[in-house]
């Protein structure tokens, strides 16, 4: 066990999901999800493809609507009220599998756009903050390039910096390394580890089990729209209880 997992987790609640269900048409994607995330927790979500991991974290910042149950983020109840939705989205950062940088804007503009327009930060201050976070993800020298000129790993780190510029209290990651070549995965994971060490609340869908062991203080296993098992990483990997978890782990770690 490294030091990371023993880091302080406060008893202040960041996210509460209570009896949440979601359907795509008549297809029941998420079934009775109950989850409480505390401030400073680092949660890794894994599970087979199509099990609803992306859908779950996309519900948290209302990129997807849920049909039943409640989601409360930082004390704000997620409802169809657009004010609440915008408030939650500006508190919650998100990184996507395919980065989704804005190709018509420079790296710096990508990072300053939301602070300037959503938070009404003065331009100069927003640029200073953007440079600060670009330094943190170790690419300040690319600030005036366009996303298309950067490697995948660099783009994903810019995407992380872009989210951080909004000063989020929670970060969501949806398979941030799945679209990357192996040699670039490490640079992105290092950035995420650094973020975790600073106490950011993180929900991370990933199959990087090394990352889960090192950083997570809870691992959640999903299958067929359900949370099947959750535990501390040590216990989760060494002593999985459910048969489905065992099968999944043997497949993913077995080769």
């Amino acid at each position: 066990m490294t030091g990371t997992s023993q880091m302080q987790v406060s008893d202040e609640v960041a996210i509460t999901i209570d009896g949440m269900n979601k359907w795509y048409g008549s297809f029941h994607v998420l079934r009775d999800i109950n989850l409480t995330v505390y401030q400073g927790e680092r949660i890794v979500i894994c599970g087979p493809s199509g099990s609803g991991k992306s859908t779950l974290i996309r519900c948290i910042n209302a990129l997807e609507e849920h049909q039943q149950g409640t989601i409360t983020v930082d004390g704000t109840l997620l409802s169809s009220d657009l004010k609440n939705v915008d408030k939650i989205r500006s508190e919650v950062g998100m990184c996507f599998q395919h980065f989704n940088l804005f190709p018509h804007l420079t790296i710096l503009e990508n990072c300053t756009l939301a602070p300037i327009w959503v938070r009404k930060t003065p331009k100069k201050e927003a640029e200073e903050r953007a440079m600060h976070f670009l330094e943190k993800v170790k690419i300040p020298d690319q600030a005036n390039k366009y996303p298309g000129q950067l490697s995948g790993g660099q783009q994903q780190r810019v995407a992380i910096a872009r989210s951080l510029c909004m000063m989020p209290r929670i970060m969501l990651f949806d398979e941030p390394t799945s679209a990357l070549d192996p040699e670039m995965i490490k640079e992105v994971l290092d950035t995420m580890i650094e973020l975790a060490e600073e106490g950011m609340t993180m929900l991370c869908v990933t199959h990087e089990m090394g990352f889960a062991r090192q950083v997570a203080n809870r691992v959640i296993f999903m299958d067929a729209g359900q949370i099947v098992e959750q535990n501390e990483p040590e216990a989760f990997f060494n002593n999985p209880q459910s048969e489905r978890t065992q099968l999944f782990l043997s497949q993913i770690l077995g080769h």
Binding site: N61, L101, F102, H104, Y146, Q149
Partner: protein
């Protein structure tokens, strides 16, 4: 030696090879001609055929152009001067120059007004077309429509001022109330503008235009290429925002808005422009209050604008559809609201993709302005077909007149096309 037989792969270069020019047969004109014109027998034959065709064309047109007569005052005089030689009768262009450009009723001592309006148009369009120019210039662009209206139509200066005040008041209402609720700001703005215009209209005294600084010129006195340019510029600049609104409306989540947009687009695209123009010239009056006499120019502008807006909407819809869903999601996840996401993220990219299509529509629209000649407006083609060709002096000068019309339109359309290519290159950021 024995090394070589045992290890045939090993090799070491003996010194450096100095750079040398390519052999003569591989460079210069000879190579270019051989590669591009005579690379094989069929290509050689095609080259010769093409040269023959070009020669035949030039053999006919060059003497026609060179022998052209510029100073006579009728076609018969042209024929006398030419005395049987091949030659164009360009005198019609010099003699009817003002009619071709301004129509035959615009007061001749007032030609400076449309000329000035055209020069100012270039100034007003510059900051829109070349966005590296200082943004402050856009203020003049905003004022330009009112200035141009006053210059071209003349009459009391109160009319454009009241119109401007109406727009400014509507904009202010939208700024103040639109923040809370878009619908309130939008409809409040429209209502404000209507109120200002009605009140302002009552304030302008009857006959204010009679002794105005600029002599009033009614719309039916406009004509010539000026009319084509006016219709083209007005309709393109109105149909672009309308097309964007229709494209966004078509993919709206609100069924009513979506339906209105779909029905409108499909209907307008399914009707020939010429039909819409006839509607404008005879029937549109039914849709306005009975005592309102809506200017024919305005009616035509409305119809052409609606027509090309429907096409532009479809072009932009293609651009919107080409954007990955991730762009919408990234914008949403950063907390941008709908207008911000559209303005800052989605539209800049979608419009960039749509540039070739939009330019296509704009060029088509500009050329379609000549259709107004069939509803007895005397644009460039209307002037040629009507007053000029019907006159006894110039009856029968087809090539020169229509060639001139084609030449004017070609210059403008080629300019638009070159601009759009420059714009595409200037905006290319993502595929390097």
């Amino acid at each position: 030696m024995s090394d070589k037989t045992t290890n045939p792969i090993a090799f070491v270069a003996k010194g450096t090879i100095p750079p040398a020019p390519p052999p003569a047969s591989q460079a210069g004109v000879v190579k270019w001609v051989r590669d591009n014109l005579f690379s094989s027998v069929p290509n050689g034959v095609l080259t010769l055929v093409a040269l023959a065709v070009i020669y035949l064309l030039l053999q006919k047109t060059v003497p026609w152009l060179v022998n052209g007569v510029w100073t006579t005052s009728s076609l018969n005089e042209c024929r006398e001067v030419l005395d049987g030689r091949v030659g164009a009768c360009f005198s019609v262009l010099t003699e009817r120059w003002h009619q071709l450009l301004y129509g035959f009723k615009y007061p001749a001592d007032q030609y400076w007004r449309p000329n000035l309006a055209l020069v100012l148009l270039l100034v007003a369009a510059a900051p829109v077309l070349f966005f590296d120019l200082p943004r402050k210039l856009l203020i003049f662009t905003g004022l330009y429509p009112f200035i141009a209206f006053w210059l071209i139509w003349g009459g009391t200066i109160m009319a454009p001022i009241v119109a401007l005040v109406g727009f400014v008041a509507a904009g202010a209402v939208f700024q103040i109330y639109g923040r809370g609720s878009f619908a309130l700001g939008f409809f409040g703005g429209i209502a404000t503008a209507l109120i200002v215009w009605t009140l302002g209209g009552m304030l302008i005294p009857e006959g204010a235009s009679d002794n105005a600084m600029l002599q009033a010129v009614p719309s039916r006195d406009l004509g010539g290429f000026m009319l084509n340019l006016m219709l083209g510029v007005t309709c393109v600049s109105l149909s672009l925002p309308l097309g964007i609104a229709l494209a966004l409306g078509r993919q709206s989540d609100m069924p009513l808005i979506k339906w209105i947009c779909v029905v409108f687009i499909e209907f307008v695209r399914g009707v020939p422009l010429i039909t819409l123009l006839f509607v404008a010239s005879v029937m549109l009056a039914y849709f306005f209050p009975p005592d309102a006499t809506v200017d024919l120019f305005l009616r035509v502008v409305i119809m052409i604008t609606l027509f090309s807006a429907a096409y532009i909407a479809e072009v932009i819809r293609g651009g919107l559809a080409a954007l990955p869903k991730g762009q919408y999601e990234a914008a949403d996840s950063l907390g941008l609201d709908y207008p911000q996401a559209m303005r800052l993220i989605i539209l800049p990219q979608a419009l960039k993709i749509s540039i070739p299509g939009i330019v296509n529509v704009a060029v088509g629209l500009f050329k379609d302005t000549t259709l107004v000649s069939v509803i007895s407006m005397f644009d460039l083609v209307g002037m040629i077909r009507g007053p000029i060709l019907a006159s006894t002096e110039w009856n029968g000068v087809y090539w020169e007149l229509l060639g001139f019309a084609a030449f004017l339109f070609f210059i403008v359309c080629y300019g638009i096309s070159q601009y759009s290519q420059w714009l595409e290159r200037r905006l290319a950021t993502d595929h390097r």
